[in-house]
Amino acid sequence: MDSGIKSRIFDMILNVIVFFSVLVCLIPMLYVASVSLSSNSAILSRRVYIWPVELTFDSYRVVFADKTMIRSLLFTVVLTLVFTAMSMMMTILMAYPLSKKGLKGRNFFLLMVVITMYFSGGMIPDYILIKNLGLLNKVGALIFPGLISAFNMIVLKTFFSNLPESLEESALIDGANYLTILVRIVLPLSLPVLATLSLFYAVGRWNYFMDSLLYITDSKLYPIQLKLYQIVYNNMQPEISAIEGSIASNLLPESLKAASVMFCTIPILLVYPWLQKHFVQGIMIGSIKG
């Protein structure tokens, strides 16, 4: 490789561009984190950049004292886990039979899925359906409509059909049924792709906002995104006791909102570095399918 002076300057320019891009990614979060940790006077006199000025944890004291906030967070954690488990079960149940090329009616079922990738009823027919099913203000409204992603299902189907057939054939000859084969042979061979798809479902559920805005008006069932929306966009006040209330009344809305944003983002930031690898694998699996 060349190591001339030109090449070194080139390297330097590239490093600077990448460093700048990384900063652009981080600064919004650093800034909001700093606002959440800075004193009122520092925020008002606009002395806060990307580190806290006159460090204080008051805004977090208020956010953590707000039981509805904690409840939303816990609810969203449980919702995400339940949704992901159910989605994966349904996706596997569909992908496995459809990966069998000899299955009668396979093309019909596949067509049925592919059509939904091109055409959908839309927001209002979906809403009427949920209403008619009696799911308004029920957890089910946040779980059932999105259970199977056609894209994820097809990715998994393609993966299953690329597994060597010989493994299953010998098990079939030994008298095993398809359930045994699926659980004992196919799934253990598919753990990486299963992990990836679970993560896609989980992150999608965690971040999705529209369905809760449409279907949920009972604040006990607010997922964290809807809760955050109410705080930041509709200036919803925290529900807290008198003691924290006195702290809260002295706080700027900015720092309270900033702390709420951090409260909703930190869970993602905590798990993200460990999960990132699986996502990158996942996008590759998807793109091979094309």
Partner: protein, 294 residues
């Protein structure tokens, strides 16, 4: 053959899911052609002879929403499509692998934030009274820019939020394409005396051309479609003129004002136009994918 019954048993629940949650709403689209009455239900509501469509085609707000949808999506394409390609080329040229890996991890991160979080970050960062960006602009002696409350600045903020959210993540696919290029090509070019810029221009870009073109076609295919979370989280009533897109319009007309038939007709219009774009684009992309490009 007899053993296949288990496979069909597996399919029962998923097929029921698709029937109830995907195909029943497709039937529900018929309310766009009816005077929907909640108490009569979809089936018994009377047909209205395309009155709903005549209504929406006479609504100024409908055309505004269609125009905004295409306009914002086009800007997304113009700004958001090249960004990941450039980023991927730059990242692939980095020599320090640790630096590259850490940068990638951080650059993918915005993709995992919800639009409500990104919208909140945007408000805090760009607000005219207290946002960091305007603090800096004023420190430099300029007038603050109303990023969120005036049309043109808002459009720019919206477009950049898309680049910010997805450029890193969308670079992955190009990085993979670049990683698949035969290294001998680069070695041969080096022997011939090509500098690094020339190698990017004459080897990297031609080698990932197919990927670029197919992704471009697929992206153009989605130009009539728009999600709800992003325009809803980024928009506000001061910029409705440019921020109201089909999805937010459907929400407002349908669920806020309760005009279900009208809103469904708007959604149906979008679905059909979107489907035409999508099918055409997928068809072309598939053809190109089979033949290779030029």
């Amino acid at each position: 053959m007899r053993r296949n019954y288990l496979l069909y048993l597996f399919l029962v629940l998923p097929v029921a899911y698709f029937f109830i949650f995907k195909y029943v709403p497709m039937y529900g689209v018929t309310i766009a052609f009816k005077d929907y009455n909640m108490f009569l239900g979809i089936w018994k509501s009377p047909w209205n002879n395309f009155a709903t469509f005549k209504e929406i085609f006479s609504m100024k707000e409908f055309f505004r929403a269609v125009k905004n949808t295409f306009f914002l999506n086009t800007l997304d394409l113009v700004a958001g499509f090249p960004a990941p390609i450039i980023l991927a080329i730059i990242l692939s040229e980095l020599r320090n692998q640790t630096y590259k890996r850490i940068s990638q991890t951080i650059l993918y991160l915005p993709h995992f934030l919800s639009w409500i979080v990104i919208g909140s970050l945007t408000i805090q960062l760009f607000s005219a009274q207290s946002g960091l960006v305007n603090t800096l602009i004023e420190k430099l002696g300029f007038e603050p820019i109303p990023f969120l409350t005036e049309k043109t600045p808002w459009i720019i903020t919206y477009t950049l939020s898309g680049v910010w959210q997805s450029a890193g993540w969308n670079a992955i696919i190009y990085l993979a394409a670049i990683a698949g290029i035969n290294p001998e090509l680069y070695e041969a070019a080096t022997v011939d005396g090509a500098g690094r810029l020339r190698r990017i221009w004459h080897i990297t870009l031609p080698c990932i051309k197919t990927t670029i073109i197919i992704l471009l076609i697929l992206n153009v295919g989605r130009i009539a479609q728009i999600g709800f979370d992003r325009p809803y989280a980024m928009g506000n009533y001061l910029v409705t003129d440019v921020s109201d897109v089909i999805s937010t319009f459907v929400y407002r007309v349908g669920l806020r004002s309760g005009r279900f038939s009208t809103a469904t007709a708007v959604g149906f219009f979008q679905s059909v136009v979107g489907m035409v774009f999508l099918i055409t684009a997928n068809y072309i992309a598939e053809k190109l994918g089979e033949q290779g490009i030029w």
